[in-house]
């Protein structure tokens, strides 16, 4: 009976919170963040004006940087396209393979025992060390860069998919057994959605690695791309453009992360 009462109590709508319009609360929530940005911007202005005064300053002010950014936009856009042509396939293949193999290995005790010792050795190798070798072995810069991005994103996705599949709620598994689901349906309709929270956090880490590896790989041999842009203007000591490139790359990374986050929220609508 106590349980029944508890259930009833849960179903009573929560009227305890006083009514408050939504938007001022939002503004308040971001107020401190906006303050931090303002302080950083002011500090930037002050540093560029009073600390670094030489003509070709290592610390260009915001005005210089933003005008350089504006001028470089077409070139940056071409760089973005070139970079995404490496990032998207690399990260995409890593995600698909990582999820498929991770789920498969995660649901089988035997496969886990077989492959995880190897994974523990291979996964922690910093993927940057593969770059020179990949460039030497693979035919074009693009394929070697895609490979390196793939290696960087694969392990986090694979490991998180495997652990998500492994930690599957026992009720979901029992349910599938009662329903007599075949192996493929079980993985596609039960294990995969149940492991999605894990998979998305692995994808977040993987995407971060992808950007790091992409830009590092571009330092080695690209003729276009975001990392290449920064390196190129640094070589010419054109620091306003270089800083503009850094800011722009940060923005692209931020947008990619936001897109992933948005997808995650859409996909995990059932999680509460």
């Amino acid at each position: 009976m106590a349980e029944a009462h508890a259930a009833l109590a849960r179903e009573v709508p929560d009227n305890a919170a006083p009514f408050r319009p939504a938007w001022p609360r939002r503004v308040f929530a971001y107020r401190d963040a906006v303050l931090v940005f303002a302080v950083l911007l002011i500090a930037w202005v002050l540093i560029s004006r009073y600390v670094a005064t030489a003509q070709n300053s290592l610390l260009p002010g915001p005005a210089k940087v933003f005008s350089a950014l504006w001028d470089a936009l077409p070139e940056l856009w071409r760089g973005t396209v070139a970079s995404l042509a490496i990032l998207v396939p690399g990260f995409g293949i890593a995600t698909v393979l990582g999820v498929v193999l991770g789920l498969r290995v995660g649901t089988s005790e035997r496969l886990r025992r077989t492959f995880f010792p190897c994974v523990r050795v291979a996964a922690p190798v910093p993927p940057t060390v593969y770059i020179p070798y990949a460039i030497a072995v693979l035919p074009t810069f693009r394929t070697s860069a895609i490979f390196v991005v793939f290696v960087g994103a694969f392990w986090p996705v694979f490991i998180s998919a495997a652990s998500g599949a492994h930690s599957l709620d026992a009720r979901y598994r029992d349910n599938a057994r009662i329903l007599g689901l075949d192996d493929f349906t079980y993985h596609r309709r039960v294990v995969f959605p149940a492991a999605l929270p894990h998979i998305f956090s692995g994808m977040g880490v993987g995407l971060g690695f992808s950007f790091i590896l992409l830009t590092v790989a571009e330092l080695f041999g690209a003729n276009a791309g975001l990392g290449r842009f920064v390196q190129y203007y640094a070589d010419f000591a054109d620091y306003p453009r270089m800083v503009a490139g850094i800011l722009y790359t940060g923005l692209v990374t931020f947008l990619a992360m936001t897109l992933l986050d948005w997808t995650r929220k859409k996909a995990l609508f059932w999680l509460r």
Partner: protein
């Protein structure tokens, strides 16, 4: 006569723990059995054995003359907590069972049948909702619809209405009786509960598990004719006598186990 469920000296050990020992039980096809017992008496374990989710370490279990070694769509289970898949709509949840019953059905027909099963339990309007969008009672109705869609001839239910408020609980009890009574041939039902009233209202027979390790400590037919009426039962002297006997039996068993521990 076709044999129903047979358990012979069934025992379960989980490591050092004796969960069940020497459980013997014969349930004829179509019987509604209420399974009672204090928590920890092995009721849920017994159900898991019967549906094939767990294996006995000794003894034999058989359904319709065949040894139970794994799960089968002939033996369905409705869980204590609703265990629908939260990322699927109610229709999609039920359609999984429909597809298992008849794998050659085209998807549209699958959905139509799933919808029909949901209508049967009064969920026609909620069919396209997700489990978290409906109440606990509705989730449990959907779980019953899914078990029906599977078409099992043996239905095991593990405290299915334990988390519901009294009104919904009564409604679902009647729904279950209606389904059981309306089907021909009748399904065999194993209904685990810790609510004595519920066990007496639903079951044709009450089996009580107790002791450590768990075994059958009481097994009797419920003498009340069907259709049963809640109000009339409450006015019945035998009902109160039985209820007290059972409650005392379970309480004493629990005290014994506390002393032993």
């Amino acid at each position: 006569m076709t044999p129903g469920l047979t358990l012979e000296h069934v025992g379960v050990r989980l490591g050092a723990a004796h969960v069940l020992e020497g459980v013997s039980l014969d349930v004829p096809v179509g019987q509604f059995v209420s399974l009672l017992g204090a928590s920890g008496s092995g009721k849920s374990t017994l159900l898991r054995l019967v549906v094939g989710l767990a294996q006995a370490t000794s003894g034999r279990l058989a359904w319709a003359g065949e040894a139970i070694t794994a799960t089968s769509i002939e033996r369905g289970l409705v869980f204590q907590d609703y265990a629908l898949y939260p990322w699927m709509t109610l229709t999609e949840n039920v359609a999984l069972a429909v597809a298992r019953r008849d794998p050659r059905l085209p998807p549209s027909e699958r959905r139509a049948q799933a919808h029909a099963h949901l209508s049967l339990v009064g969920l026609a309007d909620a069919a396209e909702k997700h489990p978290f969008e409906v109440s606990g009672g509705m989730q449990q109705r959907a779980a019953i619809a899914r078990a029906l869609a599977l078409g099992s001839s043996l239905l095991a239910l593990d405290e299915p209405f334990g988390a519901l408020d009294p009104v919904n609980r009564a409604r679902l009890q009647d729904l279950l009786l209606e389904i059981w009574d309306g089907a021909s041939p009748r399904k065999t039902i194993l209904f685990v509960t810790h609510d004595v009233d519920e066990a007496l209202y639903l079951g044709a027979r009450v089996v009580i598990l107790g002791g450590a390790p768990g075994r059958v400590i009481s097994d009797f037919e419920v003498p009340f004719p069907r259709p049963r009426d809640r109000g009339a039962l409450l006015g019945h002297r035998d009902f109160h006598r039985l209820r007290d006997e059972i409650a005392t039996r379970i309480d004493r068993d629990m005290l014994d186990r506390l002393k032993a521990a």
